[in-house]
Symmetry: C2
DNA sequence: ATAAAAATGAGGTACGTACGTCAAAAATGC
DNA sequence: GCATTTTTGACGTACGTACCTCATTTTTAT
């Protein structure tokens, strides 16, 4: 059974004939250009539905005068996850370029609302169709997003959202659900109950706070024998995480599990090893990085919960196509998956 | 920092100039047409690398006289996973069609090597570029794949492979790794040890056997306190699975976990409920279907291990592009992910 | 050296849409 | 009803590659 009728493709010419208008009018409707009466536009829409016209993206992209151009504004330095995001921008960008979607990468000082705002203001609407930003929830950023949107740029928030702003799409995971997933696993890992040590970069980071909140809610409601301690805040840094978690384990030598919602896993692994608890307590971490992969393979880390940078960049790509070319230009958006990796299903 | 040099695109014209040959020769090399001396082809390849020419897939697909046409030959009926695969063929097919890749769906009698062989023989090489089949490891199928390949068709095996045949690609998961993943989870769920009941459709099915083998190897090497019983074979059917697992639990009322590598989860849930064990034993199942989703939400099933039909169809799509248009026509193949779902990270 | 075969060049058309220009028709305000 | 604005039509070019034909050059076999 063929999914579509035989060979013939339905083109704009067929559509023009079916709607009883000229090609020029079809073009105006399809590309949302001005100068079409609502009644005429409705006739075209009706004809589109009636004859099942689908814009040929292949020809559409070819005929477009210029590529879709997207700026990625990412924080630089410290965070290994951001480095992976940046790598994914290059990797996926190479694929997108073959389909005439070009990514530019701009790295700014970390957690600096002014730098982000400046970078947004510097975007030329004649060069760029839009930008993807890792948002910081500050008034200056809201204002810059509003200004950019006013210039016709489509702003997409990535990983960290900016609710209530003029941003046109958000790409990222549900961090509370990620925390609940960690809690469900940890609870099942510890049927006899016990103490769990929470570790975070900073409770000032929204995603960290949301994960901890999700973790707590599941554990308290479904695993009453388990108690949750902390969080220990290590600023996502190696040394600080090492020192503070080691000290914490000194005070609580009877912990049965560790959940780290942030980075700094290398320091945590070292602290666990030093405390003689490596492999003896269950350990759930986030993001596949050098330390977490090593931890999985050595058996110190049991589970890593992952938001795939590649998935996210691909989702930004699709969102940009939808925003610039219309809703049919890419498959409808679906939430970014929360992936669960053990040593055994690591790619 | 821009990922690629400014605006100008490198076209076949630039390539012809750089290689010192005509457009016709470029075309012959790019599309593997005959009539080019190896020395000339080498010069072109060198120029491609030197100036960084990338074929514009957008224009390439547009200029192709005909679409890429792919037949999906899937077993019909019984298996709910196959139904989901078929749905994914339609869903992803709608997206692929916009990029001039057309899927046709052909459903044949289940586990019938002759029907599969006949369906392959019926494929016209002038109409189709290739086919994706859920392979059955029988000589008749090997021969039919060889004949189809001889006619110029690209055969891709899906879910179930046909090693040693003329098939050009395989799309599916590593079932031993899936079993190991299940074993790792189950072992951590049962730190105090205990008996695990294995359930399968049939040990005659290669994927089922591989999963069980992977499960056993992990449990025996890493969780010696856990013992593995079974497998109980339920033919992937509701009633048979219900009856046999219920009887088995009568003989072993002290099991602490269940791992079902196949279908029939509705019957298993019913048996567990009747035995008063629902929610009291850890339960790992495969594939997101009606019964497994319900089981996750009700708390009877703890974890579902998943191969995504959509991922697999998309991978077939990419493989077909690579086989028909060349290696650059799609991102390089990557293994199908083994996904782990709990109630909390269910989409 | 000559004939045959193979390799290469030159140039065109086609794919379906985007986007421009200019004129003609229709709707609108007064 | 007239002038003005808005809407619509007609038509052409461009995008980058595929694929075709035919002439011409180069290589290979004899």
């Amino acid at each position: 059974m063929a999914i579509e009728p035989a060979g013939g493709r339905v083109t704009v010419h067929d559509l023009a004939r079916a709607a009883g208008v000229s090609l020029a009018t079809i073009d105006r409707v399809l590309n949302a250009r001005p100068g079409v009466r609502p009644a005429t536009a409705a006739r075209v829409e009706e004809a589109i539905a009636r004859i099942g016209f689908k814009r040929d993206m292949t020809a559409s992209m070819l005929a477009r005068a210029r590529d879709i151009r997207l700026a990625f504004i990412l924080p630089e330095g410290t965070n290994q996850f951001m480095t992976k995001l940046a790598e994914a921008v290059e990797t996926i960008g190479a694929q997108a370029r073959a389909e005439r979607v070009v990514f530019d990468l701009d790295r700014i000082r970390s957690i600096d609302a002014q730098a982000l705002s400046d970078a947004l203001d510097a975007l030329d609407a004649d060069t760029y169709d839009g930008a993807a930003i890792v948002a910081i929830d500050k008034p200056a950023v809201h204002a810059a997003v509003a200004r950019a949107t006013g210039r016709g740029l489509k702003i997409i928030t990535l990983v960290s959202d900016l609710p209530g702003s003029a941003r046109r799409a958000f790409v990222g995971i549900d961090n509370a659900a990620a925390g609940r997933t960690a809690g469900s696993l940890m609870g099942r890992f510890c049927p006899q109950g016990g103490k769990i040590m929470l570790v975070a970069g900073s409770m000032g980071l929204i995603d960290h706070a949301e994960r901890i909140s999700g973790f707590r809610s599941i554990v308290s409601s479904e695993f009453p024998a388990v108690s949750v301690l902390g969080p220990v805040e290590g600023q996502d840094e190696f040394t600080l995480t090492y020192e503070r978690t080691l000290a914490f384990m000194g005070e609580h030598p009877d912990i049965v599990g560790v959940y780290n919602v942030g980075a700094g896993n290398a320091g945590l692994v070292m602290a666990l090893t030093e405390a003689g608890l490596a492999g003896k307590v269950r350990f759930v971490a986030h993001e596949l990085t050098g330390p977490t992969c090593a931890g999985l393979n050595s058996g110190v880390i049991d589970v890593v919960i992952v938001q795939s940078p590649e998935d996210e960049i691909r989702a930004v790509w699709a969102a940009a196509r939808r925003l610039v070319l219309g809703p049919d230009a890419a498959p409808p958006e679906s939430p970014i998956e929360i992936k669960v990796f053990l040593r055994d299903n690591l790619r």
